[in-house]
Every structure is written in structure tokens, then in C-alpha cells.
């Protein structure tokens, strides 16, 4: 993983706490204090009730693969050295879905329904991304 040169996410003021936490090995989920909804991706207002009373909850870091694909071709050049790459939709236990990668032991045979856990991987210089590895339960 050390030679990753991923394109960095375009971080906005509302998402900065998420990415700051990732750099400290924590996974946060935005939360609406007005309607008690977990929100992904982070926004300026709650998409359910339009409240601006938004906070953060720390996620357990575990989830289930909703779908997964192995990409062999067609990415931009930053990913070329990593191919094939396992791209997944992960349903976090907090009830939100995020895109990420499944990495590590067994990633090539990961399938829908498998349980995963977050790990924080340096993906470009010192910048970390939240990726996931398989866990057995």
C-alpha cells in the first residue's frame, strides 16, 4: 500500500471533521441533532429536515459489503499501479452506505454480505483514506 498515489478528495468545510478524524484513525458519521438521522455524505444541512444543528458520531468501523467489483481497466492513471482494485459499497452498522476499497487478505474473493472493518491507509503521502478489510465473525 505504501506506493499509492491516489487522487485526494476535494475536502469541503462541512466534510473537514470527517477527514481530520480519518487522519487520527477514527471514522465519523455526520448526525442530525434535530431529527436523529445519520447522514452520508456530510453536508451543510440535514437532507431530511434541513436543520443546521449537525454533529458527529464515531462509527464502530464495521459494516457489510453491499456490492463489490474488481476493476482491471479504465481507471485514471493514479490507480494504474494498484490494479486490479476491489471497489465496494459498504453498509456501515450505523446505517449509512459509503464507497471504499476492500484490501488485505482475501480481498480478491470478497463477496456481497461479507463483514468488513475499517483501516486507515496512507494513500498519497501522509494522507489517509478509510479502506476496509475482511473480518470473520
Amino acid at each position: 500500500m505504501s506506493d499509492m498515489k491516489r487522487p485526494l478528495p476535494a475536502i469541503s468545510p462541512e466534510s473537514k471533521p470527517f477527514w481530520d478524524a480519518v487522519q487520527q484513525d477514527k471514522l465519523l458519521v455526520q448526525h442530525c441533532n434535530s431529527c436523529d438521522t445519520n447522514i452520508f455524505y456530510p453536508r451543510r444541512i440535514c437532507p431530511e429536515c434541513w436543520s443546521k444543528d449537525l454533529g458527529w458520531v464515531e462509527a464502530k468501523g464495521t459494516g457489510t459489503i453491499y456490492s463489490i467489483t474488481t476493476t482491471y481497466l479504465g481507471t485514471t492513471s493514479e490507480f494504474t499501479k494498484e490494479l486490479p482494485i476491489h471497489v465496494a459499497y459498504i453498509d456501515l452498522d450505523e446505517g449509512i452506505r459509503m464507497a471504499s476499497n476492500v484490501v488485505g487478505v482475501g480481498a480478491e474473493s470478497a463477496k456481497i454480505g461479507d463483514r468488513v472493518e475499517v483501516e486507515f491507509v496512507k494513500a498519497n503521502g501522509d494522507f489517509k483514506l478509510p479502506l476496509f478489510h475482511l473480518i470473520e465473525e
Binding site: P9, F40, T69, T75, S77, I85, R97, A99
Partner: protein, 388 residues
């Protein structure tokens, strides 16, 4: 009888042909469509241009009025550009309807031009990998347009117990239409299901021939009022109904991941407006750009049982001579993807089918066609119904 009609169309073949410039295509399709309609060019009162993705210069030129000026249209009242990705043509047609029914215009031109093959391949890959994907929450994880559609396809196969071969059979059916179509990039190049299965893998389970093949092309529609169409056109193609549903901009947060609910709502709305039932539709033209959409559409509209869409294609029902002819243009995988222009090609095909001009792909006796288009990474499903 509808309030508006397509009274003329012209299209250039979809090719990879950088020598054929944007202005070559513009001249051919605009002059060709006006001639096809058999009208005086100065009867045209409006230009509504389909935005050409990945081509900023052409977007500026069309947005700021160079086309009506270049062609010397004397009585144009307004010129705009519409960008809703692959749904743009449907939105252009709807805006034309508004211009016409409000009394502003009697005749509106809707042109589209795309030349992508003179853009460096790396730039095109980057554009189409990034443009429909969320820059912060999808792209940094290696998500591409193909990858997102592959994820949906994987989930579709999981939930419906459909096999990779059954999904591949959808592309076989689309290439079967495309192989008979002289306007297709894949004319005379059919692919069997085995061929599809044997193509190189892009993102599991999608092979190269199941993904978009970017190409060059273009077309132009002449849209007219009911009164004008009746007076000046022998074979107008009438718009009978319209339905719309917005699914969401980013695939990861979309509840309707297979677009079924979008198809159900938009097609239901269009059928109600046209006072028709789905059994009245002779041809279903589905522009979803990826194979799962062909299956989802059938399931959403009750043409087959839930979860049986891929197997319905595999059984051959959607091919020429089948009980449910679907996507006689072959969609992006059977035609080639001209940026936001596959939907333009679909509209030209609707006119061909209803006028009996679809050549080897003609569905005999076709009187009612339903067409759906989608924009971005599937943000919407826009359904229109057309009849003669």
C-alpha cells in the same frame, strides 16, 4: 394527436472518425433535418442544443448562438443549451414543447454534435471516470462510471439469482440490433453471448463490450406545433406522453439502486398522460447505457416478473421478432456512445420506426414507442411516448 411532433430528423453514423469535424457534423445534421422536414429554413424559430459532454469549446459555441448565426437562420427567437447528461435530448424536446405550446415558436431545432475521438484518450478516460462520480466520496476510491454500474450489476445478479451469462445475453441482444443498423459503430459486428463472456474484463462482471464505447456522432430533430405539423408534414411523429423521476445524483446514496422505481414512476406517468397501457406499446427504447437497465425496465413495467429481466432477454424476447422488441438502436453497447448523444440517436430511431424507415431493424406495424433516457450516472429516468 399530440401537441408537438418530430417532423424531421437527420443523423450521421456513429463512428470513430476524428477527421469528421464538429462543423462537418453540424452542417450535415442541421441541413439534413430541415430538408427531411421539407420546410423553409426560415420557419425555424428556436434552437435548443444538446450539450456535448467533454467539449468545452463546442459547449460555449452552441450556448452562445454560433449555430443559428452560422447557418443564417433569419427568424430565430432564442438559442439555449441544455445539459442533463444523457437525458439532455429529452429535456431539449420538452423545452421545445414549452416554447411551442406557449406560443413563442412553431418550429424548433434540436441539434447535437459530438466528436470525442480527437480528444486525448487519457483526458477522455479522466473526464468520464470523474464527471459522473462524486469527487470526494467515490473517485478517490477508484470508482469509475463503469465501476459504479458494475457494482449495481453485481447486486442485481445477487438479488435476482441471475447469472453472468444471462446478463451477457442482454448485450448480445443489443449487438444483434446494432449489427443490422448502418448507423451503428458495430454494424455487421454481432456478438454472441459467448463472445461477450470472452471479452476482456473491465470491472467484474462487466466486460469491455458491456461498457460504453466512446465515439463520434450527432443528429438533429425538427420539432413543430400540431398546427404546423398537420399543415406541412405528411408523416409527423407525435409526442403522446411524458413522465419523469429523479433518483439522485450519487449512486452510493441512491435508494433506487436498480432504477426500477424510477422506471415505474416515469413510465406510468407517461402512459397515463397518453391514455395507454404498457400492452399498447409496440417498441420499448431504453437508453440506460448499461445492460442492467434493460432488465430493470422490463421488471418495473410488469413486462416480466420481478427479478426475471435478464432471463427475459436471455430467452430472446427482446430481439427482432420477439414478443417485446426492446432498444432497437442497441443502446450504447450496440451503437457506440456519442457523449450525451445516444439519446439523440434514440429519438432519430423513434422517428425511423414510426415512419417505417428503420430498414433491417424495422418492427412491423409499430405504432406506439416508449423511450426512456437517463442522465449522469443514472440521476433520472425520463419517459416519453411517441405515436404516428
Amino acid at each position: 394527436m399530440g401537441k408537438i411532433a418530430i417532423i424531421g430528423y437527420h443523423e450521421v453514423p456513429t463512428q470513430i472518425n476524428p477527421e469528421r469535424t464538429r462543423w462537418d457534423i453540424a452542417e450535415e445534421v442541421i441541413i439534413g433535418a430541415v430538408k427531411n422536414a421539407g420546410i423553409d429554413k426560415d420557419d425555424v424559430q428556436g434552437f435548443i442544443n444538446v450539450a456535448p459532454q467533454a467539449q468545452p469549446d463546442l459547449i460555449s459555441q452552441t450556448a452562445f448562438g454560433l449555430l443559428p448565426e452560422h447557418f443564417g437562420f433569419k427568424n430565430v427567437k432564442d438559442n439555449v443549451i441544455c445539459n442533463a447528461g444523457g437525458a439532455s435530448t429529452t429535456n431539449c424536446v420538452r423545452m421545445a414543447e414549452q416554447w411551442i405550446t406557449s406560443g413563442m415558436c412553431e418550429v424548433v431545432l434540436v441539434p447535437h454534435i459530438t466528436v470525442q475521438s480527437d480528444i486525448p484518450a487519457e483526458d477522455l478516460i479522466t473526464f468520464f471516470a470523474k464527471a459522473p462520480m462524486h469527487q470526494e466520496w467515490e473517485f478517490p476510491f477508484g470508482m469509475t462510471f463503469n465501476g459504479a454500474m458494475a457494482l449495481i450489476t453485481q447486486r442485481y445478479m445477487h438479488e435476482t439469482n441471475s447469472t453472468e451469462e444471462e446478463v451477457a445475453s442482454i448485450t448480445h441482444a443489443l449487438r444483434d440490433w446494432g449489427a443490422r443498423d448502418p448507423y451503428s459503430l458495430f454494424h455487421n459486428k454481432p456478438k454472441s453471448t459467448e463472445d461477450v463472456m470472452g471479452a476482456r474484463m473491465i470491472s467484474t462482471p462487466l466486460k469491455s463490450v458491456e461498457c460504453n464505447m466512446l465515439a463520434d456522432g450527432g443528429g438533429c430533430l425538427v420539432i413543430a406545433s400540431e398546427e404546423y405539423a398537420k399543415k406541412h408534414c405528411k408523416n409527423p411523429v407525435w409526442k403522446l406522453g411524458h413522465g419523469s423521476d429523479f433518483l439522485g445524483g450519487t449512486p452510493i446514496v441512491r435508494e433506487d439502486i436498480f432504477w426500477r422505481e424510477g422506471y415505474r414512476k416515469s413510465c406510468g406517468e407517461a402512459l397515463a398522460q397518453a391514455n395507454l397501457s404498457v400492452e399498447d406499446i409496440d417498441i420499448h427504447e431504453i437508453y440506460g447505457a448499461y445492460p442492467f437497465t434493460q432488465a430493470s425496465y422490463l421488471e418495473a413495467n410488469g413486462i416480466c416478473e420481478p427479478g426475471e429481466g435478464a432471463r427475459y432477454h436471455a430467452a430472446g424476447h427482446t430481439k427482432l421478432g420477439g414478443k417485446t422488441p426492446c432498444t432497437t438502436i442497441g443502446d450504447a453497447t450496440g451503437r457506440g456512445h456519442t457523449g450525451s448523444g445516444v439519446s439523440m440517436a434514440f429519438y432519430c430511431q423513434v422517428a425511423r420506426q414510426l415512419r417505417g424507415e428503420a430498414g433491417e431493424n424495422q418492427v412491423e406495424g409499430a405504432e406506439k414507442v416508449m423511450m426512456v433516457t437517463s442522465g449522469g450516472s443514472g440521476m433520472n429516468t425520463l419517459a416519453t411516448i411517441w405515436g404516428k
